[in-house]
């Protein structure tokens, strides 16, 4: 059991990050903190992919001229890394759009607190 827990410590760490991200997203009332939670959530997924590609004692997947036979156990799997480059870009774009929306919300309602925002939304209801 302890071996299982220790052997997968990277995944426990990722799970903790996922939960922290979702916690920030759901519980925190401040919109900026929600975006922070969103980023933590995305980083956890990125780390999950990276962790899944790691091997003990393996090296960077760069082919040199004098190596003929490719032993896959000797190299880290490069595919998840390249995928995550794209995922990072998506994450950056999402944060950008989120902050742009937050600026718009602040200009219109003068608040970033979700509770106050809901109150002000209600005041705007016609009739």
């Amino acid at each position: 059991m302890i071996k299982f827990l220790l052997g997968h410590y990277a995944y426990w760490f990722i799970l903790a990050l996922l939960v922290i991200g979702l916690y920030g997203l759901i519980i925190k009332r401040n919109l900026v903190k929600k975006v922070i939670g969103l980023s933590i959530f995305q980083v956890a997924i990125i780390l999950f992919f990276i962790a899944s590609s790691t091997k003990w004692g393996a090296t960077v997947p760069v082919l040199t001229d004098h190596q003929e036979v490719i032993q896959s156990a000797a190299y880290i799997n490069p595919l998840p890394h390249t995928l995550m480059l794209t995922a990072i870009v998506v994450g950056v774009a999402t944060s950008g759009v989120a902050f742009a929306l937050i600026i718009l919300i602040y200009r219109r309602y003068r608040t970033l607190n979700e509770n106050e925002l809901l109150e002000r939304l209600k005041e705007d209801e016609p009739e």
Binding site: L25, F41, I45, S52, V90, V97, A98, L101, D124
Partner: protein, 502 residues
């Protein structure tokens, strides 16, 4: 020309239009709408050609850069993707024609180029999701489409940024769950190519990571599709978005999620895995069934046409989910038909809601009265026809998809689902007739006063201009024409689009 080289055209056209519109319009701002219209026409044209081609010669794969599948990214054109992409691009064409004038009315001129560019990027995402044969590529297109949609929503009325932010939070979590599911699937199978995964899966034992992958993907795509407990973003987003945005995202946005679920769960994972080993299909069917009732009941309580249509969308997406979840051929055909039919009906209804907003300045049900039937006869008629189609009155399209769904429930002997489909038609009738009654019959209180005090309501037509009216009427006409064509559609296209195992 080699037919397979036409396969990636629709998404590529949109992508290039999305890049060129901001560049060209630096100098000629008014060109934005025309460029978008040209791109959409071209994409619709190529999707029709692709569909005819695929019906003639079967599945056509396209390999980007000539890389062999498990390594390179592959686009798959089969009857399913050909059908859905054609439907979506034709609907988009109608909506863009309508948007040409409604954008002018609702959005500041300085924002036209970015607006149209985002519409093009949204359609890039939608087309890419349909064509792609790669799990990670699907995620990227999902996020391209969603990110542009957040922007398209946020240019609406005062509350729209809040609705867009809420959608952004939920949509990103949905995308994240899907990506995590892809990660687990990659751990299990070692491949991201859909065809490759389909070949590997039967040789694997069903382990915990695979079940986790399935569940995470269902949650992620379910949020995009707005299946019942995950629909929270939808009503506000549809209501507060500007009319052209609602008109383009209501028929297309949720259908993309439904298509991705159909593709991944039925074609890649296979019927046996999702019905017998992991009960994904049953979960989807039950959630959708609850969603049908929930959406219909809440739609009855709304006092604003766009909001009513939004809750009705939650219910209608439920029909698609129910049809898929039944996991038999009738249900699947019903779901595919409903993807098309609901697209046409919702496009028509949202275009009419847009027309009302342009002419009356509002789309609140309690402020409509029977003067509408004189002042906007065609818009009112289109709304009525689409409402009848939503209820499922025979020659219209709505009847036929419900017919197949009902046959599906009978085939799987699930009488409760049959009762839900019948009951929901009744509920549809209730909430649509509230509007129709207001438009066509003198409403007590207000109309009596008016006949006494003022001689007659304005008789002169205030109908919207032809550019707005034409797409609305074409959609309304399509509701009947496609209804008559449904046998031909099912025979020539949809029976070929069924997954293996039915």
């Amino acid at each position: 020309m080699n037919p397979s080289s036409l396969v990636p055209f629709p998404p590529l056209i949109y992508l290039f239009a999305g890049i060129f519109i901001p560049l060209v319009t630096l100098r000629w701002r008014r060109l934005a709408g025309w460029l978008a219209l040209t791109a959409t026409t071209a994409a619709a044209f190529f999707s029709v050609i692709n569909l005819l081609q695929v019906l003639k010669q079967g599945i056509i794969p396209y390999r980007f850069g000539g890389w062999i599948p498990p390594i390179g990214i592959e686009y798959i054109l089969d009857p399913l993707s050909g059908f859905v992409i054609t439907v979506i691009n034709l609907i988009a064409l109608g909506v863009i024609v309508h948007a040409h004038q409604s954008v002018k009315a609702e959005i500041k001129e300085s924002r036209w180029p970015p607006y149209y560019a985002l519409v093009m990027l949204f359609l890039t995402g939608a087309n890419g999701i349909i064509m792609t044969g790669d799990f990670f590529n699907l995620y990227v297109f999902l996020e391209i489409g969603s990110l542009s949609l957040y922007g398209l929503i946020a240019v609406g009325e005062k509350k729209s940024p809040v609705a867009a932010f809420r959608y952004l939070v939920m949509g990103t979590v949905g995308g994240g769950f899907y990506l995590l599911g892809v990660g687990f699937l990659y751990l299990v199978t070692g491949s991201l190519n859909m065809g490759d995964v389909r070949n590997i899966l039967p040789h694997l034992q069903v382990t915990a990571p695979l079940v986790v992958a399935l569940t995470l993907m269902l949650i992620g795509l379910g949020i995009k599709m707005a299946v019942f407990p995950l629909h929270g973003w939808l009503p506000d987003a549809y209501t507060y978005a500007p009319s052209p945005t609602s008109a383009i995202m209501a028929p297309i946005g949720t259908k993309i999620g439904a298509y991705a679920i159909a593709r991944i769960f039925f074609f890649i994972f296979g019927i046996r895995l999702i019905t017998q080993i992991v009960p994904i299909a049953q979960v989807l069917a039950w959630l959708s069934a609850v969603g049908i009732i929930y959406g219909s009941v809440l739609a009855m309580a709304q006092n604003e046409i766009k909001r009513m249509l939004a809750y009705s969308s939650v219910a209608q997406v439920g029909y698609i989910g129910l049809g898929l979840g039944l996991a038999n051929s009738f249900g699947f055909i019903g779901a595919l038909l409903h993807i098309m039919n609901h697209g046409l009906m919702k496009a028509c209804l949202f275009l009419v809601a847009g027309n009302f907003r342009l002419k009356l300045g509002h789309s609140r049900i309690d402020r409509l009265d029977d003067s509408l039937r004189r002042s906007m006869p065609w818009s009112a008629a289109a709304f009525t026809l689409a409402a009848l189609a939503m209820i499922g009155v025979p020659p219209t399209v709505g009847f036929f998809s419900k017919w197949y769904l009902a046959l599906g429930t009978i085939a799987s002997r699930n009488w409760l689902f049959l009762a839900i489909i019948l009951l929901s038609s009744l509920l549809n009738a209730v909430y649509f007739f509230r509007v129709i009654e207001r438009m066509y019959f003198p409403w007590r209180g207000s109309s009596q006063k008016r006949t006494l005090s003022s001689p007659a309501p304005k008789n002169e037509s205030q109908e919207v201009s032809l550019g707005l009216l034409l797409p609305t009427l074409i959609f309304a006409l399509a509701l009947i024409v496609v209804g008559f064509l449904n046998v031909w559609l099912v025979k020539t296209i949809l029976t070929k689009a069924l997954p293996a195992g039915f």
